[in-house]
């Protein structure tokens, strides 16, 4: 071996389905994803597309009733099959997750400093209490909060400040990969801009890998190097974020991209762009392409077989039958 694997995370043909009283419900249906050090990768899609399930499998946090196939390699080791002790060592230390909804993820009766310090105490039991609290205060500073805020309770902080606390917690054990699930969804525009700037700075300064999951493709286009657009459990388009956002090739990616108008674009005045219909019921997926029932460009052939993710060159891929014809 000349070089260690550059991939922090490599997801290979991941399939996850939930066992429900009404049968098997496929949530993720064959997803591949690679994240390298210093890279920001976005996963976009609407509720139910499988993006949060994908995130949870990275630390094997998926619910017990989930059946998982495929591989999730973190620094070359498969998270899905590793021993419990190894998994515990990997959580926080190598990979950490910032969950959706900072308000509900913090314990209301503990000071935020104690909550940030908890993973540090667990992973480095030899540290003295004073050393832990010093590290906590450094982390607060790193995420742009005053050091003395370690004494605050969650209710004393604003939404943006709580999100910063969550990010400080994710950084606590100096992980190499961070997964952020909808990190800015409940936040105001200005606070959203602050948090996105903070995340970008951290990636640049610490060289970590970052996966951001969001329903808002425009947010991802702003901060990510690459994005993957998911629909009904599959990736339907992937490429550099600018390309996917400004020149989408899959009709679903195009719909997501135009859902948030460019201000100043006369074509968007009094013409909000929407996509009729709802995503398919995962228990009852349509034959052929799962997007076909909502697709403005669907052909008869679309309803026959699910199109593969075609390689369009330069790392660009899209799963649409019309792209294969040319």
């Amino acid at each position: 071996m000349t070089t260690p694997p550059a991939e922090l995370l490599e997801v290979r043909d991941l399939r996850v389905s939930y066992l429900t009283s009404e049968g098997r419900l496929p949530a993720v249906r064959g997803v591949d994803l690679v994240v390298r050090a210093g890279e920001v990768v976005g996963v976009a899609g609407e509720s139910g597309c499988g993006k949060s399930t994908l995130a949870s499998t990275v630390l094997r946090l998926q619910p017990k009733d989930a059946q998982v196939e495929g591989e999730v390699l973190v620094a070359g080791a498969d998270v899905l099959t590793m021993r419990w002790g190894d998994l515990r060592a990997l959580r926080w230390d190598q990979v950490s997750i910032v969950f959706q909804g900072a308000l509900h993820s913090l314990n209301p009766v503990h000071r935020v400093g104690d909550q940030i310090g908890e993973p540090i105490r667990l992973h480095e039991p030899s540290l003295r209490a004073a050393e832990v609290s010093e590290r906590v205060r450094e982390l607060l500073e790193q995420v742009g909060l005053p050091r003395a805020r370690d004494r605050a309770y969650p209710h004393q902080l604003s939404g943006g400040q709580r999100q910063r606390v969550m990010i400080a917690m994710a950084l606590a054990c100096r992980p190499r990969l961070i997964v952020a699930d909808e990190p800015t969804t409940a936040l105001d525009v200005m606070v959203q801009a602050q948090i996105l700037a903070l995340l970008s700075d951290l990636v640049r300064d610490l060289g970590v890998g970052l996966v951001i999951i969001s329903h808002d493709l425009s947010v991802l286009a702003d901060v990510c190097d690459r994005v993957a657009v998911m629909y009904a459990g599959r990736i339907v388009e992937t490429g550099t974020s600018q390309e996917v956002f400004s020149d989408p090739r899959h009709p679903y990616a195009a719909a997501l991209s135009s859902a948030f108008p460019r201000i100043g674009d006369p074509a968007a005045r009094y013409a909000p762009s929407g996509l009729p219909g709802d995503p398919p019921d995962p228990r009852d997926l349509p034959a052929g392409c799962s997007f076909a029932p909502r697709c403005p460009l669907a052909l008869d052939a679309c309803r026959v077989a699910e199109p593969p993710l075609l390689d369009l060159g330069n790392g660009r891929r899209a799963a649409c039958i019309r792209l294969g014809a040319s």
């Binding site: 200005m190 493709l217 108008p261 674009d265 909000p272």
Partner: protein, 343 residues
């Protein structure tokens, strides 16, 4: 600008906090909305936009100032408010939380129809079922009968939002207030709901006030925009004026952080809106103002005014208006601006 149907004049709302401090959520606001007009109230959390919307439907009493419906001050008696709500309806933020989980779609929509005795008032002699079906169909839920017996948990986010809008439409209001109508919805559903609001304006002449922090939404559907900051309107004008040539530093900053505008250098303001119990003196935006921080205000000789002189309430006269000392100097309207303060 059409004749105003619903109007706020110098609307002021104080809340007393538990410690006894007085928080001024609205500090003198003039806005108006007419038939078939879409007004967007934009700003961050804490700017007072939701409080203003609530005062417009009479859910929130004013400390000072007045709200007028068809030129007459609101009558806050139970009867007066009931009459008002037949004409002015509000769709609350968070569709999932606004529907009663134990009520079917039919019951949710029929409740308002019964309360306001709409069956007796219907000129076409339609029954309650007809009216509920018509409202659901108008809100884009077709065929409506299929949804009658569904419960909220069986609906998608977009469907819940449509049921709420149907409940409001069933009363045939003249004005609809929508608080963040799409912020909790998926991107692909968002456009559909916004298109529905525009359709209501086109077909029924409904006037719409939409409360949002999303400038893209305003660009999609609003005729006019009021940008709010800490209880005041700081910039007001047509959507094109406000979003294409913003003049207030706050509007400029808000616009620069919209993710898709890549050609603008983002002006990320530090911190958050101050506590409304301690509204800063002078211009209320000065502690966060990038123009004050970078010396532009000093260079124009207005720094002293930014720090010490308050600004007049902007009149809702349809002109592009900006509450900023620096802008007043730059646009040469300084004299006119001072005249308004003393008036």
């Amino acid at each position: 600008m059409s004749a105003p149907v619903l109007e706020a004049r110098s609307a002021t709302v104080d809340f007393t906090t538990r410690g006894g401090a007085v928080a001024r959520a609205l500090d003198g606001v003039d806005v108006s909305v007419g038939r078939g007009e879409v007004l967007a109230l934009v700003g961050e959390s804490g700017s007072g936009k939701t409080t203003l919307a609530r005062t417009l439907v009479g859910l929130q009493r004013l400390t000072a100032g007045e709200v007028l419906f068809e030129g007459r001050p609101l009558d806050y008696s139970a009867r007066g408010l009931r009459t008002l709500r037949r004409h002015v309806q509000m769709v609350l933020q968070d569709a999932a939380g606004s529907l009663n989980p134990r009520q079917t779609v039919y019951e949710s929509v029929a409740e308002g129809i019964r309360l306001h005795k709409r069956v007796a008032a219907d000129e076409q002699g339609r029954t309650e079922v007809d009216l509920v079906a018509a409202a659901l169909a108008e809100a884009g839920l077709r065929p409506p009968e299929r949804l009658f017996l569904r419960y909220p948990h069986e609906l998608s986010g977009g469907q819940k939002q449509r049921v709420l809008i149907a409940g409001a439409l069933a009363l045939r209001p003249q004005i609809l207030l929508a608080d963040e109508p799409v912020s909790s919805l998926d991107a692909s559903i968002r456009g559909e709901i916004l298109a529905l609001l525009l359709e209501l304006r086109e077909e029924n002449g409904v006037g719409i006030v939409v409360v949002t922090h999303d400038l893209g939404l305003a660009w999609n559907i609003a005729d006019r925009i009021a940008v709010m900051y800490l209880g005041r309107v700081v910039e007001f004008g047509s959507t094109e004026e406000v979003l294409e040539s913003p003049r207030h530093p706050y509007t400029q900053a808000l616009l620069s952080v919209v993710p898709e505008i890549s050609h603008l250098e983002p002006i990320v303001l530090r911190g958050e809106i101050p506590d409304p119990t301690r509204i800063p003196g002078g211009c209320r935006f000065h502690p966060r103002c990038p123009k004050l921080a970078d010396g532009s205000a000093a260079a124009a000789g207005v720094e002293h005014r930014c720090l010490n002189d308050g600004l007049a309430v902007l009149p809702a006269d349809g002109e592009h208006r900006v509450a900023c000392h620096l802008d007043a100097v730059l646009t040469g309207a300084a004299e006119q601006g001072r005249g308004e303060v003393s008036a």
